[in-house]
Symmetry: D2
Subunit: 362 residues, 4 copies
């Protein structure tokens, strides 16, 4: 996901990631509307309070802690540091964001991440049990105490309710905390494969977060903490990690708008439908997917020559080589993805295929 | 500086801190203007690049690293972690922000802070030398490797050029890095007592940062790194601390505007003049200052009964008791402070005094 | 305590510290006796088990955890890391060993040490309360959660039972853990000023350790953990810090011998009596003490010229200048200190004084 | 390596590990001989100095730093913390001791361990290159900066000189430090497969350590630091980790004896020959090895019923199931392993086999 090394945007339309856009206009408007009053600093403002109340309403519980942080890496590092003792470790998929894209932030807070090989980006009770069986030799091994999962996963796949419940049941039996990275919880809950609500997520995890940055916000994630005693101390961790913004309203106002009614889910829905359209366009043209498209991430296997042609007009991430003359590409869509750009992209794909078939026929 | 426990704003006008306001309108406008294009993530966008160039122009050097982070605590913790080896310590005034207001963020990254008793919130070569003399017993003591100072200080005082140069000279002689916390560098450079430019700050320190949050921005600070090899790795630290924002434009656009011409200094100038007016109003009424007013912080000694009366209409921080029936109060002003509120505040102060003198005469 | 930079021992007898000697012969014998059997590693051996049982007998409680570590710094760093959450801080005297002689080991595990100015090296409820009053501004300050004291202190002074009880009462009222560094608990309990037993120490603290290295052992300290759930996990911390010795018997055998009967206290008694004799010799000669001699540390104020003369035959630590022509010296005694060396030392002191008085008379 | 949970030694002879024995008699004698003089503390004693000189003589270089620490975990954690910046990671085999047996000590100092799948417990340039190819996405991934290898490995295998040189060459090309865990360097250099000297190890690594605990010492490892500036600061790290023993002589005296002539290698030789004999006894009886026996570790595949029978008289580690009715067992030998116990063990193995063949024949 080489965002920082992506090609120049000027000539190209980007399917590289879900944060190349700015904020959704309504969120920008909310920031504007919140700007001209004096407010208490560090999250004590009326907008953060309103956002907390509305999120609690969507969660169907008013007794949970809600804390705003500026980034996904801070949400993960803070949550894990807040939950674990120094000798405790977190189990994560080897494809998990804390393993592959956070510069060792979890280890920097002193904790080992025990990698497990996932299935379609997901963990299962079997995978977790196997990992526990390999990490029993105490006190010479770090003690597994938490399971980290992402929904949607880094491959865009989602957990079904029964899958999540099965993991939660195992965690309770094994005295493990279940932490869910919700950077893309919006698209996960808008997936055709999804059968859960935010309330289900709350009930089936110990701590999780709701991602704003990848779903229309300029910045900000909301960490939801169920345990009352942890919640009572959580703000210390947010501050210690440099993530307690003095002008909390900048995040509070956006979340207050996202959860005023259903904007959060409407934006995610748009991203997911755009991905579906893009995905179908590619498969209709006869090219296979690397992973089934369930949310706003499309992983397709395309010929290198086609990829090269597409790169003239579009930027996206070439994930990995696939055989000699093909590669897996990752295409991301968002609430802001233009219909016409999807058509332009799939047009090139189909055109290339036809011309090739013609060539093949000759 | 009990921001998080400040009284309700509704009934009161706040002189509590310099982040109770939102963003300056021009910065909000800049955020708007940057919103509707696709940009490269994680600081690779055109606005961060523009902001870096403009800051370098104001610094008078184009070979320095400039990195944007969301908060002052992240700016301090990241800079110190990036500069020190695990056994190295930082010397700071016991009143320094890293000592008193950052929840042990520096220690959380593994480093000892050696406290030194400041003079008017400032360190001097004598104070630093004394501290070194008390921390020589190696390898049984952490090795002093950095000096942390704030300009303006936590008491609103500023360093004169010759004071800073004297500290820098000592640091070079003793192989110490000099790090300057610039949360309020704007007001410092707008002080009557100031004789430095941003270029001087750059030349006389090893690493420092320019505060946005306390000078008109919604969020964001700019860390300036002189050392080329440190700069080449600095982004790793920003990311590891959860401070590398995916949509860097939200900070980049604001700094690009702050340093397009002189807005950054104009806003600071307003805050400093407002403080001067407030300060004079108090001293004219016959009440002493606790520390001379040099920037946007006023520390005054007022009777408890007057403080009570003022709190009916204004919120501010009661710093500490002073004798039996007085206390030190801290009043902060900003670019947004209303003239009429200053007049209202000083009006109450003068009124209280007269009525008392009358009473005293009877 | 410039051990590592002490002058050459060949020509001199050392009063520099309490670890210049090897092990007491009986402990060496115990190591020898334990050597020729196979034992379970990592503290599972019969000697560690025996030592734990005997220590528990001396403590008068058999339900406490006892853990052996190689050094005082590891005992302190491990105990503090095991008790605190990342945002929690420990209050310590500015003269405390964790502040002045452990190379930032506590900070290296992420925790802030809040320094308090002690009285004769000791903390008091008043000092602790004042420190709490200055560290209330949450979540912007690290949360005081533990009080660290040393008995004997770094100045050789000891806590009376009522002093310790008063601190413990405050700690319970303020939800603070009380941790006692017992590097010199032996000499503390052998002091004339002492009115406590090991059982009292156990009852009046939450966690403490019994120092072996400074009381006859080749190496090793025994950490006593009262809290059952902490004790059940404590070995993880010992291992993680690299302090779980594979051949635990080397420490276990020594502690089993030290606590078989009363050897531990007999050795401490000898050290304390030797210090008393040395101290009286100095005061008899008309020189003042810097701190009253209560255990095996003598702090005396001597003329620089006398110090120079003494350094011809003895090594000791020159603590700090005292006026223009005097300095405070620190002299340590142990179970192994030779009577004749004390007499030789005091002989020089008295001789110098007489000769000077003669000179004065002429 | 379930040392801490090994069965009761009384009834059984242990092949469980290489630290069930005490110290070799000559080392115990050396400790005795060092005991009755006053010495400078913290490694400044004459015995540590002598040990350093003798180790340097064996290394063939007198300009390297040599530092003594009490345990292998401290040797690894200290060396890695001393070499890496916070955002830098170490590449290690997934079977490496720092991954599987040190309770997250490396992560506790803030560093990510990037696991690589080894070949016979060893890393190769190909494995390291592949790992680098998967960890390039900067600054979003921790930066690989060090390669950790063990010689002998955790499977008892050893590196040939050309294998180590190939790794070192790659490390230099990729700007990686090469760190060698020498807990069993003695048996490695005494292996039939070995073609290196201590001097070669020094030349082909950046930092490594010589294990005492697993080769006859009561405790202690010697870390060898080539880089002069790192060596000049290394003692700070040793102290900060609680590993700078006040009475350094206890380790110094042992290493001075181990390297006075060739005792260190003679002891290792004995352990390796004992393993060879044990290994041959098992293969002669017709049972396969899991890994070829190259040093003092024997990994054999035995029927569960035979394992049960052997456990009546011997303790050893059952590594993992192997098919339905077999398991891999790990048997360790040392300088102290009794000939007759090897014969007794192999006697049971051969006896079981014959009786079974008889049964099979009937």
């Amino acid at each position: 996901m080489s965002e920082s090394t992506s090609p120049d945007r000027k000539a190209q339309y980007s399917f590289s990631d879900d944060y190349s856009e700015g904020a959704h206009p309504l969120l920008l408007k909310a920031i504007f509307a919140s700007n001209y009053t004096q407010e208490v600093g560090y999250g004590g403002d009326t907008y953060c309070e309103l956002a907390r109340q509305r999120i609690r309403t969507h969660l169907g519980r008013d007794d949970v802690g809600v804390f705003f942080v500026p980034s996904g890496t801070s949400a993960n590092a803070i949550s894990i540091a807040a939950c674990l003792r120094p000798h405790e470790a977190v189990i994560a998929a080897s494809s998990g964001h804390i393993v592959t894209r956070e510069t060792g932030a979890v280890e920097a807070s002193g904790h080992k991440i025990i990698n497990a090989t996932p299935c379609n980006g997901k963990l299962t009770p079997e995978i977790i049990s196997k990992t526990l069986d390999e990490n029993w030799h105490f006190p010479h091994m770090a003690k597994p105490r938490m399971v980290y999962i992402s929904n949607a996963t880094e491959f865009g796949t989602v957990y079904a309710k029964e899958e999540l419940r099965a993991i939660k049941d195992l965690c309770e039996k094994k005295n493990l905390l279940l932490f869910l990275d919700g950077a893309r919880i919006g698209t996960a809950l808008s997936s055709k494969m999804n059968d859960m609500t935010l309330h289900d997520i709350l009930e089936l995890t110990d701590i999780f977060w709701i991602g704003g940055t990848k779903n229309g916000a300029l910045l900000g994630e909301a960490v939801v903490v169920k345990d009352a005693s942890l919640a009572s101390e959580f703000e210390f961790y947010v501050k210690q990690h440099g993530s307690l913004l003095a002008k909390g309203r900048v995040v509070g106002a956006q979340f207050a708008e996202l959860f005023r009614e259903n904007l959060y889910f409407e934006l995610a829905q748009r991203a997911t439908l755009a991905a579906e359209k893009l995905s179908c366009g590619i498969t209709d043209a006869g090219f296979p997917l690397y992973v089934a498209t369930e949310t706003n991430q499309v992983f397709a296997v395309l010929p290198l020559s086609l990829i090269e042609k597409l790169q003239e007009r579009f930027s996206f991430y070439v994930w990995e080589k696939y055989g000699n003359d093909q590669a897996v590409v990752r295409l991301l869509t968002t609430w802001a993805t233009h219909e016409r750009e999807i058509e332009a992209f799939t047009g090139v794909v189909k055109g290339w295929n036809n011309s090739n078939q013609v060539r093949a026929r000759l």
